[in-house]
Amino acid sequence: MAQAVEEMPLAPAAVAGSASTAQLSVIPLRGLPIVAAVLAFLVAAIAGNWLWALDFLHVAGGGLWTGIDLFVGLVVGPIIGRMSVPARVEFSSRFMPKMVLIMPTLVIITLASGLQLSRNLGDLAVPYPNHWWLVASFIVVGVMAVIALGLLEPANLSVLFELKKPRPNGQLIGKLMRRFVYTAGITGLMQIAILVIMTRIATW
């Protein structure tokens, strides 16, 4: 997939003329009330120890997080790499800002509800060797966090700000998009490990 990105570097002239880049909003402000409502629901579920709500937030949030990561890393990423330059810019300028809001929200509702749920269900108190499954999930999530926050998200934001410039640097965008596609693919594969661990924990 990175090969495809490499084959089609963004030409500055092609990028500069795009109408969508001029209107680009890095954070879609209209989405913030939805994020606030979801977080308020999360706080209420934790404070009230609502088992159904915690289960819902963990399963729905985790499912969406995993699904989106896999879909973007293994399906959308390679497709973007093979798109024409103007189509790639058009798609990225509309897609990336939404990801800036959606992914951190999904991550926090999954992690916070999961921690509380595991306390309520007694999963945290499970002795070894089964406890290793929990530790394995912490390690996979930790490594994913470092990759996503240290490499993927900076590349995502840098591309967005580059697209906002009157004459974006096509070479830089190409380099950052390669990093984005690689890291999205790696975190997508690590999500498969999370699926195995979580289904194992749910059925022990």
Binding site: L115, Q116, V146, L149, P154, N169
Partner: protein, 138 residues
């Protein structure tokens, strides 16, 4: 106006990401012991190294002269708000679950370093590619 892409900048991102990796490793060690109180020497060392690396990244950042500070603060400001909310929610879960003592102290430090590391990484990553009014040295 000059593009910043060819300018040599100190390894702020790498240092802040290393800091993040150390505190996350310490946090994983602590979380592996929940709901019991863990042995705190190893996680304390990991978290201390992470905190020192954060200070190093911060000092390297503060020594930059010709830098797109407006863009840095724009990005890192939003990121700080977001990650303070995220860290605050995890701290809230720990408090609701009656986590106390050295475990709570260490987890609070982990979350604080984490919530400061990410805005630095994001802000620096974006600002380093912004155009500057002149091409004077760092």
């Amino acid at each position: 106006m000059v593009s910043d892409t060819s300018r040599a900048l100190p390894p702020v991102t790498q240092t802040a990401v290393a800091s993040m990796a150390f505190v996350i490793a310490g946090g994983i060690y602590l979380a592996a012991y929940l709901p019991h109180q863990p042995e705190v020497v190893l996680p304390s060392v990991l978290i201390s190294v992470g905190a020192v690396l954060l200070l190093v990244a911060g000092s390297m950042l503060l020594r930059l002269r010709n830098f797109a500070w407006d863009r840095f603060f724009q990005v890192s400001g939003w990121a700080l708000v977001a990650y303070l909310v995220i860290a605050g929610l995890i701290e809230f879960v720990l408090l609701v679950d009656q986590t106390r003592g050295p475990l709570l102290t260490l987890m609070t430090i982990v979350l604080t370093v984490f919530a400061i590391d990410i805005p630095i990484v994001l802000g620096f990553s974006v600002a380093r590619y912004q155009e500057l009014p002149s091409s004077s040295p760092i």
